[in-house]
């Protein structure tokens, strides 16, 4: 009886710590989910003299994937993106974040290019508009141009199957 109270307190503490271990402090919920995706107009990576406007994507569900050749974890998710683009389920647009075009092109040549179009953001300004603070990040944007989901960090099979693909299906529906 004497030790019951400290033991109970200890168990509660362990419970808190266990939950704390599972939290991901790096994944900060984005206030932009549910809000219109910031509009950008930026040169394409492959054809720098052509400008892509995100407005052109209204009416379709699309993914915006923030990537860079210097980003190590982008390499991790890249095969999945290549596979996804081959499936033709959803167009993936790339935001080449704070990168050098020649390195970016070389990187795509080496690992494959899953992007319908990649636009460049050499100074990270579009990134700031989208609340990007780590690369890679992936946004699911619906037909009305509203951000419906933000994936922070590399896309994984699990996040694709559990969240992204069902959401795309629902939005396309």
């Amino acid at each position: 009886m004497r030790f019951l109270l400290p033991l109970a307190a200890f168990i509660v503490l362990v419970g808190f710590l266990a939950v704390g271990l599972g939290l991901k402090p790096r994944e900060i919920p984005s206030p932009l989910v549910g809000k219109p995706a910031p509009i950008f107009q930026s040169p394409r990576l492959h054809e720098p003299d052509q400008i892509l406007s995100s407005k052109d994507n209204l009416g379709k569900v699309w993914l915006l994937n923030v990537w860079a050749s210097w980003c190590v974890s982008c390499r991790e998710e890249h095969p999945l993106l290549v596979e996804l683009s081959k499936s033709g389920i959803v167009p993936i647009y790339g935001l080449n974040y704070k990168d050098k075009p020649e390195l970016a092109l070389q990187w795509l040549g080496q690992y494959g290019d899953p992007y319908t179009v990649s636009v460049v953001d050499p100074e990270g300004r579009i990134g700031i508009d989208y609340g990007v603070y780590g690369v890679p990040e992936t946004y699911v944007i619906d037909k009305n141009g509203v951000i419906r989901h933000k994936q922070i960090g590399p896309v994984t099979i699990e996040s694709l199957e559990k969240k992204i693909l069902p959401l795309i299906k629902e939005l396309q529906g």
Partner: protein, 166 residues
């Protein structure tokens, strides 16, 4: 200073370095000018970014972080200040993009009630437990009065003691 540098330095050089370190704040102020361009804006930018969190190294402020990301945001703040935006407008700009998490001084609203009130609630709970514990303890520690027999026994012991000492 890197360990390498220390090893190559003789005592004289170290003295020289120390002297340089002492007078350098003055010289730095001059060197920093071209980057800052406008000292007033730079000062406002620093004051603002002291209260903002760098999302990459989360225990650093935007002002103190050397992360590339913090650099970008400082540039953004600087530019917006130059455009004549008010501090609050810039804070709102960042909060709509990064959420309350960028604020070191988050607003009081339902999602942050626990954060703001929690510590005081715990203090109150702790004080309550302490109060009841002390009350209970006093009751336990309080000596029950002696019975008639014990009283007599004690009395006789005391008398005996006095007799021995005399």
């Amino acid at each position: 200073m890197t360990p390498d540098l220390l090893n190559t330095c003789g005592r004289k050089q170290i003295t020289l370095l120390l002297i340089l370190a002492l007078i350098s704040p003055l010289s730095w102020a001059k060197e920093a000018a071209p980057v800052a361009e406008d000292p007033v804006i730079e000062k406002r930018m620093l004051a603002l970014s002291e209260d903002l969190r760098c999302l990459v190294c989360q225990n650093e402020s935007l002002a103190g972080s050397r992360a590339d990301f913090a650099n970008d945001l400082r540039r953004e703040i600087r530019e917006q200040l130059k455009e004549g935006k008010k501090d609050q407008e810039i804070i709102d700009f960042l909060v709509t993009r990064y959420g309350d998490f960028v604020l070191y001084n988050p607003p009081i609203k339902p999602t942050t009630y626990l954060l703001w009130i929690g510590p005081f609630a715990f203090l109150l709970i702790g004080a309550g437990i302490l109060f009841f514990y002390l009350k209970m303890r006093r009751r336990q520690v309080e000596e029950p009065p002696l019975t008639e027999d014990q009283h007599r026994h004690a009395e006789s012991l005391l008398k005996e003691d006095k007799g021995n000492n005399a």
